[in-house]
């Protein structure tokens, strides 16, 4: 897979824009996932993920082909997300669809008049609750937790994505985990 992506990158660098399409479709879910867990809003996540790919395209000449492309791409995505979080105050779209559901928007997360099947409510609430708790973490802990557990990156790779020493990554993972432990202990 890596070699296929490397080949595509070479083609894009030569000026073949259409080769970028395969790169986008290969990484779109991962990048979107990172953005979504960082900002917690599907509209913004889509916007950020799109922006991340466009930045990757326009700055592709700066990408060192000896390194891993995914690391470089995730870095763009996390940096954009962190910038966005810093700039804005939290806002919520009530009609944003809840991921992992079909057509359920945030209205469904408000107290509902009619009762939904018990189990669905439970799993949905748990998921939403966990995501909310991850979102409640300060961005610097949130980014390491998202990369570590949702994208299952190795500590070394997280260090490369965030451009911080591995020791710092470890400390942040530990603290983030402790913070989540306190919030999720009663679940």
């Amino acid at each position: 897979m890596e070699t296929m992506i490397k080949q595509k990158i070479k083609e894009v660098k030569k000026g073949d824009q259409s080769a970028f399409e395969d790169i986008v479709s290969f990484y779109q879910n991962k990048v979107y996932h990172i953005c979504l867990r960082m900002v917690g809003n599907s509209y913004e996540a889509e916007d950020l993920a799109q922006e991340a790919f466009i930045r990757a395209y326009t700055n592709l000449h700066t990408f060192d082909e000896k390194r891993k492309f995914s690391t470089w791409l995730y870095r763009i995505a996390t940096n954009l997300s962190i910038d966005r979080i810093r700039k804005k105050k939290p806002d919520y779209h009530l009609d944003a669809e809840v991921r992992g559901t079909e057509g359920l928007d945030m209205y469904s997360q408000l107290a509902a008049d009619q009762a939904l099947p018990e189990e669905e409510v439970e799993s949905l609430e748990l998921q939403t609750y966990i995501h909310k708790e991850i979102l409640a973490l300060p961005p610097k802990y949130r980014s390491v937790i998202v990369l570590r557990y949702l994208d299952e990156l190795a500590l070394q790779e997280i260090a490369e994505v965030l451009d911080i020493p591995v020791g710092t990554v470890k400390t942040r993972v530990h603290r983030g985990r402790e913070a989540l432990r306190k919030r999720l202990r009663h679940v």
Binding site: F20, N29, L180
Partner: protein, 218 residues
């Protein structure tokens, strides 16, 4: 073991998969004797399981198409270059034809002087090449930018570029007669080239002939 610092640090190292065998044994021994650490460890493990088990998300439909639509436009020039790179054989053929035709055109327009292939006993008078009475020209005859009048004989092909063949008696009527007259005068083929496209055709034919003769030589 200090519960608050050492044990918890070991727990995190364990969760990161970075705990050595010795330390792992130490942690296990400690957990067996310390209920509060046991609970702490249990909570941490549960937390990581909860985070890991969140459903994976996929990007919205048409995400890729949207990204592609929003990319900055490619430069046109690069596009052409890419087309050329994609079809190297077409490119080679195009370059070949351009060079060939430009060469032929410049040769056509070059000079208006009468030139004749190197044969002896030919007379040149007022843009007319004359094969005198009683003379037999050996080999192929090429006349450029001039007419040809044959009184004697030509033993070979005749090619006239930008000119005409003039018969023994110019007032002597039809082309048939002219041809018949000249049939006696030369033994090979007669080729007259007057228009540019004929000139091109002549060149192409010659090239092909040369290639074939090359091959047959080998």
């Amino acid at each position: 073991m200090n519960c608050n610092k050492e044990a918890i640090a070991l727990m995190h190292q364990y969760l990161d998969g970075e705990l050595y065998k010795d330390d792992e044994r130490r942690l296990r021994d400690h957990l067996q004797t310390c209920p509060s650490c046991q609970e702490h460890f249990h909570e941490l493990k549960r937390t990581t399981t909860l985070i890991k088990n969140t459903t994976s998300v996929s990007a919205p439909p048409r995400f890729t198409a949207n990204v592609m639509a929003n990319l900055p436009k490619e430069k046109k020039r690069k596009n052409y270059l890419r087309q050329l790179q994609r079809h190297p054989i077409l490119t080679a053929a195009a370059i070949f034809f351009i060079l060939m035709f430009s060469g032929i055109f410049t040769a056509w327009n070059q000079d208006q002087q009468v030139t004749v292939s190197k044969q002896e006993n030919l007379e040149i008078r007022d843009h007319t090449v004359i094969v005198p009475e009683g003379v037999t020209v050996q080999g192929d005859l090429v006349v450029r930018n001039g007419d040809l009048r044959i009184h004697g004989k030509v033993d070979g092909d005749i090619t006239i570029i930008n000119g005409d063949i003039i018969g023994e008696n110019p007032q002597g009527g039809t082309n048939d007669q002219l041809d018949r007259n000249n049939l006696r005068a030369y033994s090979g083929e007669l080729t007259e080239v007057n228009q540019v496209y004929e000139w091109i055709w002549y060149h192409t034919k010659n090239t092909v002939k040369e290639i074939f003769s090359f091959e047959s030589d080998e």
